[in-house]
Subunit: 155 residues, 2 copies
């Protein structure tokens, strides 16, 4: 792709070069009689080739693109993404059962409900709940729920 383009350029420049040489010869022949026309001749050549150089350069040089990055601030309302506070959760050092029960507590389930849900006896739930309260430093399920929500350890 670029190779073809380059080849075309080369051909073009070759042709231009040829024409220039002939033109040069023609001018030289025409002003041959006048010896002091050399300066004018050289000047013309200089001007012409300078222009040629500029033209070649503009043709060859890919346009300089100066990218100006303008940061447009878009305010996005974040949908309150809930993330459990792992730090606080680990501080409490709850085991999996206790945490499971805490979540069910927060849903408003009674001990009996939880027992049925987890296929455990009411006694077991009671002990788990009591241990949970000790670890959370509360004395009732409602306090446990509110505290858990405050600490963001449950949804």
């Amino acid at each position: 792709m670029t190779l073809l383009k380059d080849f075309r350029h080369i051909i073009l420049y070759g042709l231009i070069l040829a024409i220039l040489v002939f033109a040069l010869k023609w001018i030289q022949w025409k002003f041959l009689i006048v010896d002091n026309a050399f300066d004018i001749y050289a000047g013309l050549i200089a001007v012409f080739f300078t222009i040629l150089g500029i033209w070649v350069a503009t043709q060859l040089a890919k346009p300089k693109v100066e990218t100006v990055i303008v940061e447009k601030e878009i305010f996005v309302m974040q949908a309150e993404e809930f993330s459990i506070n792992e730090t606080e959760l680990k501080k409490l050092n709850l085991n999996s059962r206790e945490y499971e029960i805490l979540q069910l507590l927060a849903k408003g389930h009674s001990n009996a409900d939880i027992a049925a849900n987890l296929f455990l006896s009411l006694s077991t739930i009671k002990t788990h709940v009591s241990n949970l309260y000790l670890k959370m430093d509360v004395k009732s399920r409602t306090k446990a729920i509110t505290k858990a929500k405050q600490l963001k350890i449950i949804e």
Copy 2:
């Protein structure tokens, strides 16, 4: 980057041009043995000014300023603008006391706490709470709390 590559091309073309001119001159000189120092001089001028033109062009080339607008997302924590669901609240038809008690319930207070807080007897709180449950169609304080939060009638 690409500029350098282009420059290399230019140099290459310039060299080819120069070599061609010199080759031409050499051939001319060899076969004609004429005093044609003028041609060499003109060729040199041509080559020099071509290169000069190219150089000038690359220097003068104004960079195209391309403005790229980058959208930068800024996440804003929406302050969870809580608004109590007045509609649902009116549906429940709670009186001021019951609603007051509901709010205290949600904070994890016991009946005794609420009684002390509102300067009422435990009995009164119990009746209010019971009536509240009837209106909310629940059977325990935890259910009442979760339902109230679901309906967004309390914070």
